[in-house]
């Protein structure tokens, strides 16, 4: 038996195979072990349960009234638009809006809201009341000529950095916010009762 204690040289091919095989299996084990840890960072059952859909009865709103409901910890606006408000939205020229047809995908607009008034029924507007810039909740609905930032347009104004939105939640051009207000998944359970957070057909 040699008493040579020099450092080992490069691995021969059998050793190399054994080393590679061990690393592959070990790596697979490490990935498998990491899965529960990463999974634990995702929403828990309690968080998911707390995120359940919320029912809103639109018939209790007076024309022009807006109420805020909580869904998934976020403010959801339910606005009953008057005919004047609907006219005001239709009158806004497309070149004043950043995304007049709601085509941007950052907060994808559901296909039932990809219309001029961004809602299923023109009279009732449902949107997430969070500015798409950095997350403050805009003030409104403000009538025309009540605020210099909005001017002749009725709409919403975000107090944090001055972004403005029309009464269909579309963001005006040249403002910090890049996207229209998010329309959450929602559907009508009856003529006036809306289920926010669920838009399944079944």
């Amino acid at each position: 038996m040699s008493t040579d204690t020099t450092a080992p040289g490069p691995a021969d091919s059998d050793r190399r195979t054994a080393i590679v095989a061990t690393c592959v299996v070990g790596g697979a084990g490490a990935v498998a072990a990491a899965v529960p840890f990463v999974a634990s960072l995702t929403p828990s059952e309690r968080a998911k349960a707390a995120g359940a859909p919320v029912q809103v009865d639109m018939s209790s709103l007076a024309p022009g009234e807006m109420r805020t409901y909580e869904w998934r910890g976020k403010p959801v606006w339910a606005l009953r638009r008057t005919p004047e408000m609907i006219e005001a939205v239709k009158k806004i020229a497309a070149d004043r809006l950043a995304d007049p047809n709601s085509l941007r995908t950052a907060y994808p607009t559901p296909e039932y809201a990809r219309n001029e008034l961004r809602s299923i029924k023109p009279e009732y507007f449902v949107a997430v009341g969070i500015c798409t810039h950095l997350g403050c909740s805009p003030v409104g609905p403000l009538a025309a000529d009540t605020n210099p930032a909005l001017g002749a347009m009725p709409g919403f104004l975000c107090p944090c950095h001055g972004s403005t939105f029309d009464l269909a939640g579309r963001v005006f051009k040249n403002k910090p916010a890049p996207d229209n207000l998010e329309v959450p998944p929602y559907k009508y359970l009856s003529d006036t009762v809306v289920l926010v957070g669920d838009d399944s057909k079944a």
Binding site: T5, A7, P36, V38, S44, E45, R46
Partner: protein
Amino acid sequence: MGLHKTQFKGLAGWFDARMPTAMAEYRKHMSEYYAPKNFNMWYVFGALAIVVLAIQIITGIFLTMNYKPDARFAFESVEYIMRDVPGGWFIRYMHSTGASAFFIVVYLHMFRALLYGSYRKPRELIWIFGCLIFLCLMGEAFFGYLLPWGQMSYWGAQVIVNLFSAIPLIGPDLSLLIRGDYVVSDVTLNRFFAFHVIAIPLVLIGLVVAHILALHDIGSNNPDGIEIKDRLDSSGKPVDGIPFHPYYTVHDIYMLGMFLMAFFGVLFFFPEMGGYFLEWNNFIPADPLTTPTHIAPVWYFTPYYSILRAVTSEFMWVLAFGVLAYGVLLYFALRAQLARYVALGVAVVAALLMLPASPLALDPKFWGVVSMGASVMIFFGLPWLDQSPARSMRYRPGWHFWFLIAFAVVFLVLGYFGTQPPSPVNQYSSQVGTILYFGFFLLMPWWSRMGEPKPVPDRVTFAAH
């Protein structure tokens, strides 16, 4: 210009020119750390202990993401982790299995030191750091055990904190200081959380680093107990040494695989281990008004707990006599005049404070606590208690090895009785066990010198395989 000269090229060279310490330390501690080539299975437990420490830290971090250190929410938050957090049960079981695994690994690691004399000169400091790590580990386990806020958590903490109240004069105030309240409460839970999550882990990591640095400065011991650095080849490397990397890194990774198989086997199929790893009483939320009928500390504390319970008023006669006899023994054995009189004096004073007949006698409650403390602290004294001319059990008289085995059996028996409810058999056996336990250590300076050691070889015993 300040850059160091480097043999490496490219990115490695850029790094090495600016921080040569990285490669230098790697060489010093891994690829050019020459470990004895005759290591056996007993030598894997140090590396496994590091792995278990890493497991506890990582799983601990993920547990703190969802655990609430508030008496109103703690128990519920653990159930939330177990049921609602994706993968939460896996993380929690890793942490609880890891805690018991830590003690199994550390006890086996310490036993190796007893087998091969790894605590002896010149490695006393490594042993001392190790004993400090052991103390910190016990503290860490104790603080962590309160966190689930179950019945066992609460009452275990209550009892242990009350141990401190047994100290004369300052005891009750000390307990108040530790608890932060008049009973174990939310205040206690919060501060134990701070100790468990950051204070002790930082100390533990520091001590582990010191432990390994001290080891690497001297070089590892081996099953034959001979110093491999006594025989160097022409290039200054020990002839019986092999570089830690790759030889022992490969061995350790292999054994790590075996360990992980056992670890995950327990985790998936027996995480409570019959109530020893996760105690049944801890599935009940803490109730300050009701103590569970069957209280026991977690299994790794049971030997010391047995010793605590063994000290009754009758046993004080035995203890007092033992202390007095030991003082007399030291008086005749020590050579320095001062030491002799101090030893005798201390023994006499202690006996006066212990003897039930003495007017100065302190409660057996106090002496129980002292005995339990002494049973842990006595490990520190091993380098000086062991006076055998041979370092490793392999070359000591055969009966020394059986003494060590007997000690291990006593340790396990004391541990067993610690899990059982009090009974006459339990009490008597624990008392006998206590005497044998302390006898093994305290009489070691004499028995370790008896008998004829076998001739210690020049070179390690190693067969190519």
